[in-house]
Amino acid sequence: MPDPALPFLFAGFAVAWLVLGGYLVYLWRSQRDVASRLSELERRTAGEDRSAQDDR
């Protein structure tokens, strides 16, 4: 007979790791979004600088 407390133990651990994992995914996605927006903007400004130099 398995211990009747096992579902509670499983639920406790599952909830804890879901919360930690969920937050980690949120951080990872935020970092990726901000970094990609920054690099896109930097690329755009570098392109504008180059075209301004070409015009001159």
């Binding site: 211990d3 407390a5 096992l6 509670f8 133990l9 639920a11 406790g12 651990f13 909830v15 804890a16 919360v19 930690l20 937050y23 980690l24 951080l27 935020s30 970092q31 901000v34 970094a35 927006r37 920054l38 903007l41 930097e42 400004t45």
Partner: protein, 225 residues
Amino acid sequence: MNTRGSTLPLAALAAVTGALALMFLYAPTEGLQGEVQRIFYIHVPAAWISFLAFFVVAVASVLLLSKRDLRYDRIAAAAAEAGLVFTTIMMTTGPIWGRRVWGVWWVWDARLTSSLVLWLIYVGYLLFRTTTPPGQRRARLSAVIGIVGAVNVPVVYFSVFWWRTLHPLPTVLNPEGQLLPAEMRVTLYLSLLAFLLVFASFVVLRLRIEDTRVRLTALEEALRA
């Protein structure tokens, strides 16, 4: 990710793996509660780390109010967010353990109620930050909320001594001495170290994101000018 940046998360991962191994392979099964007692190795470190997080929020908030440097605001926000994660773990694993051991998910005793208030204060803190435009005003008001929230931490900790509660008294930091067997103590301490490293990794990662966001905002403003 560079080598320096990945050291802390790797150390956290190693400590979490070690702590999980100790929880299930080394720590003995508690005689009275059975297997469900192992939730203790998550619940208690999560509670301690949430207290630490809100202490960091309070210190950074005081520094912000005295020096007006927005770096402290970013540190406080990062610690508050990670602190809310650990408080959520404390607030969910506790009732799961309580349902098995006490027979109820929740009682309105002083420890549980003050913990819920702590959780709500920091939910409010983060909601306030997301709904208010960034700047000195938001930083100052957030700092006030952060400091008020941290005042609740000692109330949560001492509630089991000040009032009669269903929640057990501390087994480690107990004024009557050590109540835990050595194997359980070692497991608890490694779990605490693992959670501490996870907390530090979260804060460092959050700060890195905020630094990138500051650079992004500066670039956007420069382009608009």
